[in-house]
Structure formats: structure tokens, C-alpha cells
């Protein structure tokens, strides 16, 4: 009896086939858009990065490695390092704050989830700059946060965090938190309740269930969230500019400066290309580890 198991369903065969003619036709607008606005600008940037500038800041078409050599300057390496450090810190904080929120929303009754997700999306309806200025007025020495804490006698003197690294970090975490929450929510929402019950039934308490079932099953969401927060926060310049008061420069500020005041497009391009290369490498690195096979 035991040897003759009848297969009631066949395991899903995951195969992809290339798009047909109609498929290419439907893809055409996207491919054209990518070619014009992603491939072409990147190619121009790549070409610029090997050029030089004259005294007035115009691009001189003369091949040189000099721009890349300049990046190795300790000044820029330090800024690169600081960018990675802040981005890393932002990612960790977003993960620590975002994971419980995402999990809570995913496990909330299905009828309440749309409302909770909506609350998460509402800030996107307001301009990013406006929201950043709102934070400035909240965090400044005579701002709402400081005044409240003082009134409650929790701090002896006005809070001095604006234009300090802490303010930049708050701004970065605030900006990127939803990008951590949404992918984790998506993978947490798929976890069937019976899997959590099975884990408990097999003797795992809440923490071991988290470690052995919930975290492994939300791994794809965690990796996507880490990628969506870490990569753009390396290159962020607006938050550091406004909330760091120009004292907490990151690589984004340097690049922006090359194309602005410094008028050194070739060097800016070289920084941009280096940054892009780091981006692509880290994506590959994370992506290969983020794959989890699901039923």
C-alpha cells in the first residue's frame, strides 16, 4: 500500500520562455524609455568620466584616468566611508523600526490592513521638501520636540540636534522607512497562520518561532527592503543638505556639488559611475542571497 503513492498534483515547474512578437511589441515603449532615460544618460556620464575640464568648467574631450585617480584621495574616501556608515545605520534603524510595523500590519485582520497601509502612504502625498522642512521646525532648538521635552522637565536645556549627525539620521530613517516596511509587509502577509501554529505545536515559543519560521520566510522582503533603503540613502543629498547644515556631507552632496558650484562635470561623472558600480555589485551580492524557494 505504502509503495504506491498516487501523485495528486504535480510540483510546479518554474519555466520562463522568451516573449513572442506581440510581447516585444508590448515591451517596446518601456525599452525605448529605458534607452532614452537610463542607458543614454549613463553612457554620456561614462564618457564624461574619462574627460577633463578647462578653467571655465567646460568639458574637454581628452582621455584621462585622472578623475578616477582623484577619487582615491583620502578626502573623498572618507566621504565615501561616511556615506556607507550613515546608509548602513539608516538601514539597520529602518529594519529595527520597520520590521515590527510591517509584521503587525500583515497579521492585522484583513479588513484593517488597507487602512493601515493607507496611513503609511499618506506622507507621500506631501512634497518631500515640505516634509523635510517640517522636521527642521520640529527639531530646531525652539521647536516642538525640544519645547515639549523641556516643559516635561525631561531635558534641562533646549535640544541641540538640528544640523548634527543625529538630525541627518532622523531625516534619512524618516524618508526611507516606508521602503523597508512595504516589501517586508508583502512577504509577511503571505505567511499562512497555520505555519505559525505548526511551529508552536512543535514546541517553539514566540521567539523561536520568529527565528526559525517567520524571519526565514520574510527573508525576501528583508533583502528587498535593505536594498531599497541602503542604496538610495548612500546617494542622498537633500536631507543631509537641509538637516545637516552642510556639515554632514555625504557622497551625494559631493556629486551634486561637482555638477553645480564646482563646475567639474568629468569628476562628478567619475564619482557617479563609481557609485553606480558599487550599487550594481551590492545588488548582485544581496540578490543572490535573497532568493528563497517557496511552494
Amino acid at each position: 500500500m505504502a509503495g504506491t503513492i498516487v501523485a495528486t498534483d504535480t510540483p510546479a515547474a518554474g519555466g520562463r520562455k522568451p516573449p513572442g512578437r506581440a510581447g516585444w511589441l508590448l515591451l517596446a515603449p518601456l525599452l525605448a524609455w529605458l534607452a532614452c532615460f537610463v542607458v543614454a544618460p549613463t553612457a554620456i556620464l561614462f564618457a564624461y568620466s574619462f574627460c577633463q575640464r578647462d578653467e571655465l568648467g567646460f568639458v574637454v574631450w581628452e582621455f584621462s584616468w585622472e578623475n578616477y585617480a582623484r577619487i582615491a584621495d583620502p578626502v573623498y574616501l572618507k566621504i565615501f566611508g561616511r556615506s556607507l556608515w550613515y546608509a548602513g545605520l539608516t538601514t539597520v534603524l529602518c529594519l529595527l523600526i520597520g520590521y515590527p510595523v510591517a509584521y503587525y500590519i500583515a497579521r492585522a485582520p484583513a479588513s484593517r490592513r488597507p487602512t493601515l497601509l493607507m496611513l503609511l502612504m499618506i506622507p507621500f502625498w506631501i512634497s518631500f521638501l515640505l516634509r523635510t522642512y517640517a522636521w527642521i521646525s520640529l527639531l530646531k532648538a525652539d521647536g516642538l520636540v525640544s519645547a515639549t521635552l523641556e516643559m516635561l522637565h525631561l531635558i534641562p536645556e533646549p535640544l541641540e540636534i538640528l544640523y548634527k549627525p543625529a538630525a541627518v539620521l532622523i531625516g534619512l530613517v524618516y524618508t526611507y522607512l516606508p521602503f523597508m516596511i512595504l516589501p517586508i509587509y508583502t512577504s509577511a502577509e503571505k505567511i499562512e497562520n497555520s505555519l505559525i501554529e505548526a511551529s508552536m505545536n512543535l514546541g517553539a515559543g514566540p521567539w523561536r518561532t520568529l527565528a526559525h519560521v517567520i524571519l526565514p520566510l520574510t527573508k525576501p522582503g528583508i533583502f528587498a527592503g535593505v536594498l531599497l533603503v541602503f542604496v538610495p540613502s548612500i546617494g542622498m543629498f537633500a536631507v543631509n543638505d537641509l538637516m545637516g547644515g552642510g556639515k554632514v556631507d555625504m557622497i551625494g552632496n559631493v556629486i551634486q556639488n561637482q555638477f553645480g558650484q564646482a563646475r567639474d562635470w568629468p569628476f562628478g561623472a567619475a564619482l557617479g559611475i563609481t557609485f553606480l558600480a558599487l550599487f550594481v555589485i551590492s545588488f548582485w551580492f544581496l540578490h543572490d542571497r535573497g532568493e528563497v524557494k517557496r511552494t
Binding site: M1, E197, A198, S199, M200, L202, K293
Partner: protein
Amino acid sequence: METMVELRGVTKRFGAFTAVDSVDLQIRQGEFMTFLGPSGCGKTTLLRLISGFETATAGRVLIGGRDVTDVPPYKRDVNQVFQSYAIFPHLNVADNVAFGLRMRNVPAAERAKRVGEALELVSLQGLEKRRPHELSGGQRQRVALARAIVCRPQVLLLDEPLSALDAKLRHSMQFELKNLQRQLGITFIFVTHDQEEALIMSDRIAVINKGRIEQLGDATQIYHAPATAFTADFIGEANLLKSQVVYRNGILARVRLTEGVELAVKKETLQDSTSQALLSVRPEKIYITKTKPAKENAFKGTIEEEVFRGAMDELRIRIGGTPAANGSHTGLSLMAMVPNESSHERSWHKGDTVYCTIHTDDIVVVEQKA
């Protein structure tokens, strides 16, 4: 025999809805107990109260003599086979089965040995490294079973584990489960809405309806001596016949079913004050003949419908009453099951006049009132 699971006045309410209504039940060590009932009757809630996924609103739950009413699920010595199997998708077969042992900190060497034994018990050797999505439904079911028994629990809970399998596989699994239970000697509590499954596997069946145990007994008792109309109707098929007591004498009483149809029943099955009774007669206990038998409780009738059901023929027979002008019929319709005797032609045809005989032994009084 020793009591393994005991429910004392257990009640579970969800808001205003009472899912389980003061249930008292003792399940013996090594017993195959089935909770049988329609969907929404509370059988799954009852199981979840034992596994600890629900907490009783009132009453106590005891497992192995220990009060576990307020003990969380991960500290109870019970394991469950889930309806959806709940196989961890991120672990292979061996790791799925080993999960409970890891959580109990069983050393790696012993873990490997016990996983091997459990997989052998469910005939899954060689599939250790398979991922859940590479398994068929029947194989997943076996993984779920192995994962639950590898922990050697005091009680194994099975929540409709066979409902997703096709009929043939389900039937062979029923026998396998029963064998496994005998082999392991573990108390099995099995939840199903499939009465045939319950009759095949169980030592005892608790028929559950509206959060209460309607009847508790072994398969024969439940089938042949249903205590209530619900049980008679839910288990197998039954002719439920309303009747009025018309006469009592000696050991027999006569009841009137309909115009011109009177039935003799055993007097001891009726209370003295009873004037109305609801009777249950199984369709296969109605004997059909073409000629009038010289017996009591034989009624002349007409075949209204004849349905071929493989091993049996299902007949609907109208007895008593008179045909009305509009084509409808008064009287009573009986359902009978007769074995299919000839392989070439049907023995019974619509419109045939036949005689139905019912033995007094086969009449069960399921309700009565004065």
C-alpha cells in the same frame, strides 16, 4: 483504561457565538477518537482547545492528568497534523520532520536517527532532501504526519488531514492511519465531517452538533442505534418517519405513519406516555419483494424513482395514500437500498408495484413526546 484527555464542562465563545457548549468528555489512552460533525459544528474548535490554539471561556482541559487549560500550545505534549499540512516551505523534508526535535533540543545524532525512523514509518525514505514544492499532495500529507509523530506525543491531533486527497488515496490512508495508531499506541483525536471515514477508523465517535456532543459511542452504536434524529440523519442515510401511537398490547405497539399505513414497533422502545414518535429506519433495512410476504410490517408500494449507485440500487417507494387528481400523491415516500443482483439488467423499474418489509429490530425511536 487510563484517561488521556479530559474535558470538563469546556465552553468556548467567540463574541455572542458559542462554538463549544459545556462539553464533558474523557478520551482513553491509546484510543482512536473521532469528532464527527457538519462544518461549523465546533469540532475544530474543540480540537484547538486541546492543542491550545484556543483558550476555554469556561471549564478545564486535562492532558495526561495535568491541567493544561492555561498552558500555551508550545508547552503541551500534543502534536497536530494540520488540514493544510502547514509544511514549512523554507525547509526540506528532513528539516521539516526534525523541527520539533530541534525545538526540544534533542542531540543531532538522535535527531537524525528518529527522523529516519519517522520517514520510514510513513514510507518517505529517500526524499529527505526534497523541498516541499517538489512533493505531491499525498507526500506532503505524509511529511506532516512524520513531523507530528517524530516527537512521540501523548496525543496526536488530526484536523481533517485527508480531505484534500482524492478518494482512492484517502481510502488507503484511512487504513494506514489506523494501522499506524495501533502500532504506535498513541491516542489519536481525529476531526472529520466524513461519516464514512469516522466509521472506518474510530474506536469511538463523538457526534458533534451546535457545539455539543450529540452522541458518543463506537461505530456500530452510532450507526445502528442513533440516539437523536440528527445522528440518524447525519451518519449514513435514514428514513425519518413521524408516527402516532395508536395501540399498545403485550410486547408490541402499533404506530400510524400515514393514511392506511400502520407499523408494529417494540413496545419497550416507547415510553408509556408517548403518543408521538420519530422513527429512524436505514434504507438497506427495508426489504423489497415483488410478491407479498407473509410477514408483519409489509407494505404495498410503487417505485417512484430508481437510481443506479454501483453496488446498490437506490429506490424511492411511495406507500399508503391515494393518487390525487393533480398528479401529486399523498402517503409516504421511503428510501430503500437493494443490492444489485444482475449484471445485465436492472431488477427494479419505475412504476413497479413492490412490497416493503421492515423488521421491528431495525426500527429506532429517535424522538418521542407525550
